[in-house]
């Protein structure tokens, strides 16, 4: 009950007019940051961090976390409208969101994305409110082996649950792993595959690859198909929003599953990106209309968005209670906490009650404010699609180039983005799925690092991946996911022979 009293006190703090004003400013800035590819939540928060030094810590964190929510919302907009994910975790949203926009349903897609984001975040905040101390101690059980098992599960569920030919999926994934291997080998401290080119020290940045593969690749495809957006003439108004809302409760099962996946991935600091991919992969296999995924199924938007937001929100929990950021943006927020003189860690919940509960209350209110802000803007966003392609395409190109440049302030990256654009176009023409490639670039080096850390600790024994209940369970789940098709087939054959 003490938690509830604390929470109400937190609401009182968050509801002060000054803080509400900061909330709305934060959300709006965040949406803008989320829409611009490459700028991203982490950079946005980092740039705006010094603005908050003169504010009281609670107000400052309310504004910064609202920028974070805003960026999470905003990432979905360009993914759906232009197939350009503004944030890593919105890649999976493009798979069905973009086809929906092309079929003249951008309003439905945006509404579904925003609403499920809200649901995911709300679920995660409620979880944080209720079980914060418990979850923190659970996260402590995650060593390298457990982390590798989580990544393994993400990869396996993608290969096994995908409807694409498994070998094409694996081939695309392997290209991704090879790209992820370039740069500094974090275990030996040596440079790998850079061939003395200093620009490659950093490896291939995920964002550059994604902007090229999806954004530029898509423009090339559209040019080939006759310079027009399909379905740009849809009319969007409040009716569309309400109608989509009526449909959404029907997908409660997918939502709940995605919420759980998201919370879990956010707390075990795997983050929002694998959460969105895994949630999409599982929904594709388990949904009734799973065969339609990738062709503009609303459930294919709900699943990744819900999970990404649940994970993005849950990622703040390990940051506050352990001092370990679950996402790059959380890492910058962590820096902010230290500057305001707050020491994140187990004592924060005890010593800084007003701050912690003010933040948690602002998560409820900030997400609600965010939903209202973005939903009222849906018609404006969707109207962008009515602009002729001849005008919008150069604008998108410029936006992509700025995005790619701003990741490391380097023109080399802009070249790289164009190269990735051509690769993306070729892969699409040959019907290779891009998603596994992207997944492997994002998680490849993290998975490698966790794998090698585990083996260092176990002195080379693979038994470490089955050394306790937690890690064995996750690994077993991964193997089941990998061979899901074979298992299903075997099961139905067994039933046939029984009958």
């Amino acid at each position: 009950m003490e938690e509830l009293a604390n929470l109400f006190h937190g609401f009182a703090v968050a509801l002060q007019p000054y803080n509400i004003m900061l909330m709305v400013i934060g959300i709006t800035l965040g949406v803008i940051i989320g829409v611009l590819p490459g700028l991203g939540g982490a950079n946005g928060v980092a740039i705006l961090l010094p603005l908050t030094f003169s504010m009281p810590p609670t107000s400052a964190i309310i504004m910064l976390s609202c920028i974070y929510w805003g960026a999470l919302f905003g990432g979905a907009i360009t993914s759906i409208l232009f197939n350009i994910p503004g944030e890593p975790w919105s890649v999976a949203t493009t798979f069905d969101g973009y086809p929906m926009a092309q079929q003249g349903k951008p309003g439905e897609a945006l509404t579904a994305a925003f609403t499920s984001s809200f649901v995911g975040a709300l679920f995660a905040v409620i979880m944080i409110t209720l079980v914060a101390p418990l979850v923190a101690s659970f996260a402590l059980r995650f060593g390298p082996a457990e982390k590798f098992a989580v990544y393994f599960l993400a990869f396996c569920s993608f290969v096994g649950l995908s409807k694409e030919p498994p070998f094409k999926t694996i081939a695309a994934m392997m290209i991704g792993f090879a790209l992820a291997a370039v740069g500094l080998d974090s275990i030996t401290g040596q440079l790998r595959l850079t061939f003395g080119v200093t620009e490659l020290l950093n490896g291939f940045d995920f964002l550059i690859a994604v902007i090229g593969l999806f954004g530029i690749g898509e423009i090339l495809l559209t040019m080939e198909e006759g310079l027009a957006f399909r379905g740009g003439k849809a009319s969007i108004n409040l009716r569309v929003v309400l109608q989509t809302w009526r449909e959404l409760p029907g997908y409660w099962m997918t939502s709940l599953r995605s919420c759980l996946i998201g919370c879990w991935m956010g707390v075990t600091p795997a983050g929002a990106t694998p959460a969105s991919f895994m949630s999409y992969g599982i929904a594709k296999r388990l949904a009734r209309r799973g065969n339609n995924f990738g062709k503009g199924e609303v459930e294919g938007v709900i699943a990744p968005e819900t999970a990404a937001h649940a994970a993005g929100t849950a990622a703040l929990l390990p940051m506050l209670s352990l001092g370990v950021p679950g996402s790059p943006t959380a890492a910058v927020l962590l820096g902010g906490l230290l500057i305001w003189g707050l020491q994140p860690g187990p004592m924060l919940f005890v010593e800084q009650k007003e701050f912690v509960w003010g933040l948690i209350a602002s998560m409820y209110l900030g997400n609600l404010a965010g939903l209202i802000v973005v939903l009222t803007c849906v018609p404006i966003f969707a109207a962008i699609l009515r602009v002729p392609f001849g005008i919008i395409a150069p604008l998108i190109l410029v936006l992509c180039a700025i995005g790619a440049y701003s990741v490391h302030n380097s023109t080399f990256d802009v070249m790289l983005m164009l190269v990735f654009g051509v690769i993306g176009y070729l892969l699409k023409k040959c019907n290779y799925p891009l998603a596994p490639l992207v997944l492997a670039i994002v998680l490849g080096d993290k998975a490698e690092e966790a794998f090698r850390q585990s083996l260092l600790g176990s002195q080379g024994s693979l038994g470490v991946f089955f050394s306790n209940g937690l890690v064995s369970t996750i690994m077993a789940l991964g193997l089941v996911a990998l061979f899901w098709s074979a298992i299903q087939e075997g099961y139905s054959r067994l039933r046939m022979s029984m009958a």
């Binding site: 982490a42 980092a46 961090l49 010094p50 030094f53 003169s54 402590l140 059980r141 995650f142 060593g143 390298p144 740069g183 500094l184 080998d185 974090s186 275990i187 030996t188 401290g189 040596q190 440079l191 850079t194 200093t198 020290l201 950093n202 490896g203 352990l322 001092g323 370990v324 950021p325 790059p328 890492a331 910058v332 962590l334 820096g335 230290l338 500057i339 003189g341 020491q343 994140p344 860690g345 187990p346 004592m347 924060l348 490391h408 302030n409 690092e449 850390q453 260092l456 600790g457 002195q459």
Partner: protein, 334 residues
Amino acid sequence: MKPFVLNVALAAMVMSCASSTASRAAWEPVRPVEFIVPAGTGGGADQMARTIQGIVTKHNLMKQPLVVINKAGGAGGEGFLDVKTSANNPHKIIITLSNLFTTPLATGIPFNWKDLTPVAMLALDEFVLWVNAEKPYSSVKDYIDAAKKAPSGSFKMGGTGSKQEDQIITVGIEKAIDAKFTYIPYKGGGEVAVQLVGNHVDSTVNNPIEAVAQWRGGKLRPLCVFDAQPMAYDEPIADGKAWKDIPTCKSQGLAMEYLMLRGIFMSPKATKDQVEYYVELFKKVRATPEWQDFMKSGAFNTTFLTGADYAKWIEAEEKRHQDLMKEAGFLASN
């Protein structure tokens, strides 16, 4: 072509005006200053850079904005090469950590600190030997005994990065007590501390600021500090113990000393006036209460050096890193 020529002419005029004022009065930045961090967001160097940025903004210490940019690629090599190739651009400064020495030595990238212009040493970061509070060893002696008794290689030391400061200290400890550890590299110091709380490693050499929260929460225990004297801060942190109460490793029979540079460099070919401007700036930063709070929260060693003293210190430290890394077999093989 014409407008372009005009622009160039205009730019040249503006520049000559700027430089003529500079030669009369002391130099001052005429556009935003880039503050490069050769490490990722959230780490020790990043926190320090962002604190400085906050102090400069809050106290209006500069007329032009100071912009923090992370260039972490290749263990910081990306940041160092960026500043190295910005000769004659006085609007670029960089904060360094030990990777100033370790990264070029371990990877063989074409960089040496002499490529940059030294500005000032802001502080030195301490290293402390930490163990999980549940573990029975409460003194360095217990720890050494346990490490020696464990089968060779089964005692796990967690640290930040590979062939960087944490691993150098680990090799030093191994030599000093004649035991074999397994060193496991992680991405960041906070993660390392949490891995120790979760008992996934047996000990760490975290900087104070990375592990202080876990110490206060009663999860970790400090055994000794790798400095010649105990730290200066006597405010109690946990169990009535202060940073000051942590003995030096040497006094406990573990002969290893290591401090990490938190210093500022600027781009090559900077003039004396330009260096002087930044030295004065950082003197002002150091005088603010925010900076002193920050030093206290991280239990930093607040040695401040500039000019020839600073260069001499770096030179000696470079030599030391070369020797330490050669002994450990960490030098790039090319």
